[in-house]
């Protein structure tokens, strides 16, 4: 215990000193910018930083990385709320209610709530992470392939939630996502599917490219056609009232906040799947527990709070498999691991033992960045929300340029840019005909996980299906899935009975 405390104090001392603190600020800014620009995000930010920090002092490098990760989380919510474009995949849950709030002229309120939930969620996530380090190994090792499969299935039920009433269309969209997920080299089967002989499709379609197209470009097309401004109604709020109102909403909802953050950490700790679907699971929980589930998706601030608290708490969770085992919790932690290794910090006992203070430095930098970004967010929310009052014609060109850059920066491939454009048109069609794009994204993300864990489970059990039902965690997940599907039906029936 005392080692924990002393490592923490050493780290705190270093991080708050100059010039180390300057790297915290620098990382925060980098993270915020990359997080806000659709398609860029933490992965690219870290990937770009790795070579830059190659010869740098390890302490500064760690602090820089930690702060960047911290800045990205909230940065992504800004574009999600203001222009309906998720900065990173988990932010997609934020736009479900965040963007409608912007349309009602309540952008500042949404940003205020998001900033507050983010900062508090990050703190919570890190505290829980530290508390769980001793049992981390047991947690991570208790999830085997069948459990990953059921988790993916559970994740797919969220499609029902985001379809907002038209389940049939949601399933079509999700199904299309699953189809796209099948393209490319399947590692388990060792064969290339649907690549049509091209090298580009050997790896299938890239999630980020699809996100940029489906959300950013499609939104741009939508803006061009619709014209006007993003905020369609509501009066312009010229003072800080809106922002603080949003912030207060978080504080007055402790149950929602703690439940969302806890979900974030726990789901985030599950290697692989955790990072992206954690926010959706939280959103779904918030809707189920709410008195007014129908309003979710139309601008209920609880949806924003749930998503944002989870988004930041989950980072703490993803660190468990990452730092204990070297198993990345998500693509960002995969790059982070590379960065750590480069500086001689290898996961496992060493990092959690003699190098614990360095780990804490990274975490403190992350925490600092979260607080900084949220503060910046709170301060600038007012000005940022003015974007929603600008004629969209003026927003279109910068967004398109930024998206081209984002799509190209990923793999230095122009074909990616073309594919993003293609999905832009697909996305626009989905907007016009009211199909959920998030359902498509969920299918795209969860499809490979479900298929891979399914096939691997069968390999492990030598084709026996019993393996899917032997682990108690599997049973829990199955129950959760059924509940998630059945509960809305029960609720709506109870409500209609209540009315009559």
């Amino acid at each position: 215990m005392s080692e924990l405390v002393s490592a923490f104090l050493i780290a705190l001392d270093v991080v708050l000193s100059w010039p180390t603190f300057a790297f915290v600020v620098l990382g925060t800014l980098i993270g915020m910018v990359f997080g806000a620009i659709p398609g860029l995000g933490g992965v690219i930010a870290l990937a770009l930083l790795i070579p830059i920090t190659f010869g740098m002092d390890s302490t500064w490098a760690m602090v820089l990385f930690g702060a960047t990760v911290g800045g990205v989380a909230f940065g992504g919510s800004i574009s999600a709320i203001l222009i309906n474009v998720p900065g990173t995949a988990p932010n997609a849950a934020t736009l479900l209610d965040g963007f409608p709030m912007s349309q009602e002229g309540r952008a500042a309120e949404a940003l205020g709530a998001a900033a507050t939930a983010s900062a508090l969620g990050a703190i919570f996530g890190l505290v829980i992470f530290i508390a769980l380090i001793p049992v981390a190994q047991r947690i991570i090792l208790s999830f085997t392939q069948p459990e990953f499969f059921w988790l993916a299935i559970f994740g797919l039920t969220i499609i029902a939630v985001v379809s907002r009433g038209n389940l049939f269309k949601g399933i079509i969209a999700g199904g299309f996502g699953l189809m796209l997920a099948m393209m490319g080299y399947g590692h388990v089967i060792a064969e290339v599917r649907f690549a049509f002989g091209t090298q580009y499709l050997f790896d299938g379609v890239d999630l980020v490219v699809v996100l940029i197209g489906l959300f950013a470009f499609a939104e741009v097309l939508h803006m061009i056609v619709k014209g006007g401004t993003i905020a369609e109604s509501g009066e312009a709020v010229t003072d800080r009232r809106g922002v603080f109102k949003g912030a207060k909403e978080v504080v007055t909802r402790p149950t929602l906040f703690f439940r969302s953050s806890a979900t974030g950490v726990l789901v985030g700790a599950i290697p692989g799947a955790g990072g992206t679907i954690a926010t959706f699971i939280s959103y779904m929980q918030a809707q189920q527990a709410s008195d007014d589930p129908e309003s979710f998706g139309t601008g209920n601030i609880e949806g924003v709070i749930a998503s944002e608290a989870t988004n930041d708490a989950k980072d703490g969770g993803t660190f468990l498999p990452t730092f204990v085992f070297g198993i990345p919790g998500g693509s960002m932690t995969a790059v982070l691991l590379g960065a750590l290794t480069m500086h001689g910090l290898n996961p496992g006992r060493e990092l959690l033992g003699e190098n614990l203070h360095i780990l804490f430095m990274l975490l403190l930098a992350l925490l600092g960045a979260n607080i900084l970004t949220s503060s910046l967010g709170l301060l600038s929310a007012n000005h940022l929300s003015k974007l929603t009052r600008v004629e969209v014609d003026r927003l279109v060109a910068p967004i398109v340029v930024v998206c081209f850059v984002g799509a190209y920066a990923l793999r230095l491939s122009l074909i990616d840019v073309a594919v993003a454009l293609l999905f832009g048109f697909i996305g626009y069609a989905m907007i016009v005909f009211d199909y959920s794009r998030i359902a498509l994204v969920l299918g795209l993300i969860l499809g490979p996980i479900a298929e891979r864990s399914f096939l691997m489970s069968l390999q492990i059990s030598d084709s026996g299906y019993l393996i899917f039902f032997t682990n108690p965690i599997s049973i829990v997940l199955i129950i959760l899935t059924i509940t998630a599907l059945v509960l809305p039906i029960i609720q709506s029936r109870r409500r209609s009975e209540g009315v009559s």
Binding site: I50, L141, H187, A190, F202, L221, V225, G326, A334, L421
Partner: protein
């Protein structure tokens, strides 16, 4: 009536928006397309010695190499072994080269390394595109699938290290010795995919050693495969020494046998040589620095010397210790021979490998 008009207006707007975007987008893209495939636009024919007629034009054309930025292509992602070795070389080789130009790493990922490998193969042999290859990984791809590079034609600069493998099991595994494995009903091996080098080594070794084997593929990386082993999903894994070091030292895992003639000190297990399988000690994953086919002999020498010099520095030792990536360099001739030997091995076992790939 009004409804139909609005529809018409909406349709017109949609077409305008879509059409306009396509037009502008195409114009923008067309401007860029030409440059995509080209590496640094350094004209190697521009020899400064030509400008001065008093100088002998053929005297050491590489006296100022590199004059401009050299692109070093890594066919894999940032942070991995290939990336780390490459970044070290990019940082330290220029010190040993006469010119002022830098070496910049570019990660061109895709198709399991194929994209980057082809990019290096296709580039001009002017010294301004270099890269790193995975041997025998890329040889296997060449034999078993359709690729647009040829390992035999590449200009080899040198080898960073050959990572060797051992049979890794959890510390509490029921299997203690090689005999235990050979006498088991079936050993399940955890791997990422049949094309991975660790898998290739497993196929060859399992056949040679007579270990009845079953394979579980699909893990997203060595770390996950090792975790899978700890969870009891698979019995064993053919693992490279560096990646297993911290787990072995911590007592969580152990090697049953090392596929090496001279494994590191911290490995407390018999070698394949001890057990009488000398050939298997040749297997390993080599990180090889390379250049496009057709490089000038003199330029090759300049590059190889700089490469070996850079890896002989105290910084190299520090790098190896920090990153757990050992540096045991080989020169160009040894490298070329190693490539030939590896090709022979893949050829010898082609049937076995093909069987597993399907």
């Amino acid at each position: 009536m009004a409804h139909r008009n609005t529809d018409r207006i909406r349709r017109r707007r949609f077409l305008k928006a879509t059409g306009g975007t396509i037009a502008v987008g195409s114009a923008g893209l067309a401007g860029c397309l030409g440059d995509e495939e080209e590496p640094d636009p350094m004209d190697a024919d521009d020899d400064p010695a030509d400008d001065d007629p008093a100088e002998e034009p053929d005297e050491d054309p590489y006296a100022n190499y590199p004059e401009d930025t050299v692109q070093w292509v890594v066919p894999y992602g940032t942070g991995g072994g290939f990336d780390l070795y490459s970044r070290f070389a990019a940082e330290h080789m220029p010190e040993f080269l006469p010119g002022d130009g830098e070496i910049v790493v570019e990660n061109l990922t895709g198709a399991g390394g194929q994209r980057g490998a082809e990019e290096i193969y296709r580039a001009d042999p002017d010294g301004y595109t270099l890269g790193i290859y995975n041997i025998p990984g890329m040889i296997a791809s060449q034999f078993l699938t359709e690729v647009e590079y040829d390992v035999d034609e590449m200009s080899w600069i040198g080898t960073f290290n050959q990572a060797q493998y051992g049979i890794l099991v959890p510390a509490d595994s029921e299997y203690e010795t090689l005999e235990d494995l050979q006498e088991a009903d079936e050993i399940s091996w955890g791997g990422t995919g049949p094309g991975a080098t660790s898998s290739l080594v497993t196929f060859i070794a399992a056949e040679e050693l007579g270990i009845p084997s079953d394979f579980v593929f699909g893990y997203e990386g060595g770390e996950e495969a090792r975790a899978g082993m700890l969870r009891g999903e698979v019995d064993a894994r053919m693992n490279d020494f560096p990646a297993a070091e911290s787990f072995v030292r911590d007592g969580e895992m152990r090697f049953i046998v090392a596929l090496s003639a001279d494994p590191p000190d911290w490995i407390d297990a018999p070698t394949v040589v001890d057990e009488g399988y000398d050939d298997l000690a040749e297997l390993g994953l080599s990180f090889m620095a390379t250049a496009p086919p057709g490089i000038d002999d003199e330029l090759q020498e300049v590059l190889s010397d700089a490469f070996l010099d850079a890896l002989d520095t105290p910084e190299a030792q520090e790098f190896a210790e920090d990153t757990d990536r050992p540096i045991n360099p080989l020169g160009p001739e040894e490298t070329r021979q190693a490539v030939e030997a590896a090709s022979g091995l893949v050829d010898q076992y082609q049937d076995t490998l093909e069987e597993h790939m399907n």
